[in-house]
């Protein structure tokens, strides 16, 4: 008996997912930010509808626009990774399949995020 923690200490603040309300809360915080960011994104895309390469390139090269689109992508990816985790945990009950899908989902979000941010950086800083 090297473990000196009482059983109550080990489970306090933790739900069945071993992380308490952390998942719920992060999903909500991202959602609140996305209300503003998605409305900006919609307005941005509407204003560029039918625009040619030069116009779109110039619009995305503006620091504020690049910042807002970058935030939309990043916060959106955090939100959707948490959401997809919920879907996977609800429907996939075989543990190894569950783990594989969760890992693939994380990879997907990181790749989409890094690619988008890289593109935005190149657009703003690359001239």
């Amino acid at each position: 008996m090297t473990d000196m923690q009482t059983p109550l200490r080990k489970i306090r603040g933790l739900g069945a997912a071993r992380e308490g309300t952390g998942h719920f809360w992060r999903l909500r915080v991202a959602a609140v930010a996305l209300i503003v960011l998605s409305l900006y994104f919609l307005g941005f895309v509407i204003s560029l509808n039918g625009a040619d390469y030069t116009t779109v390139h110039a619009a995305l090269a503006q620091p504020f626009a690049a910042l807002m689109i970058g935030l939309f992508v990043l916060v959106g990816l955090i939100h959707m990774r948490l959401g997809m985790q919920e879907i996977i945990e609800d429907y996939i009950h075989v543990e190894w399949q569950n783990l594989v899908l969760l890992i693939l989902s994380t990879f997907f979000c990181v790749v989409v995020g890094v690619a988008s941010i890289f593109a935005l950086l190149k657009l703003t800083l690359g001239g």
Binding site: N49, G50, Y53, L60, V73, M84, A115
Partner: protein, 135 residues
């Protein structure tokens, strides 16, 4: 081994197919579906950004796809999914505070979500075509 047999013998709570479909339930299902669609929709956004950062040629290819009838159909669906998930999300944030959870109010909110998302989608596309100088 014992874990599997125990799980198989355990009674399951009834799922979707046993309940009568009501607006709040339908909006909950659609919220999850639109969320899943938006998940993969980010590929389109990433493609658009990478194309714009790569070259005029790459951008024109992406633009041609988004401008085709299939591309427009996908973007129309993307717009609706985004707006529906946005309104549904706001509804969930309201419910998180414990407000408007009564039977009549929650049903009204569910109806407002579907009607609002369709109306806003139409408005966004009208604004989009106006920005293009279509009117």
């Amino acid at each position: 081994m014992s874990r599997k047999t125990a799980a198989a013998a355990r009674p399951l709570s009834p799922h979707l197919q046993i309940y009568r479909l009501i607006p709040t339930m339908l909006m909950s299902i659609v919220h999850r579906i639109t969320g899943g669609a938006l998940y993969f929709g980010t590929l389109l956004l990433a493609w658009w950004l990478i194309a714009a950062a790569t070259s005029e040629h790459a951008f024109d290819i992406a633009n041609a796809f988004f401008g085709s009838w299939l591309g427009r159909l996908i973007l129309l669906g993307y717009t609706w999914a985004l707006l529906h998930h946005l309104l549904g999300g706001i509804r969930h944030l309201i419910w998180d505070t414990g407000s408007w959870m009564g039977k009549e109010t929650s049903t009204r909110l569910a109806r407002a979500t579907i009607i609002g998302s369709v109306v806003l989608t139409l408005l966004v596309w009208i604004a989009g075509y106006a920005a293009r100088g279509a009117f």
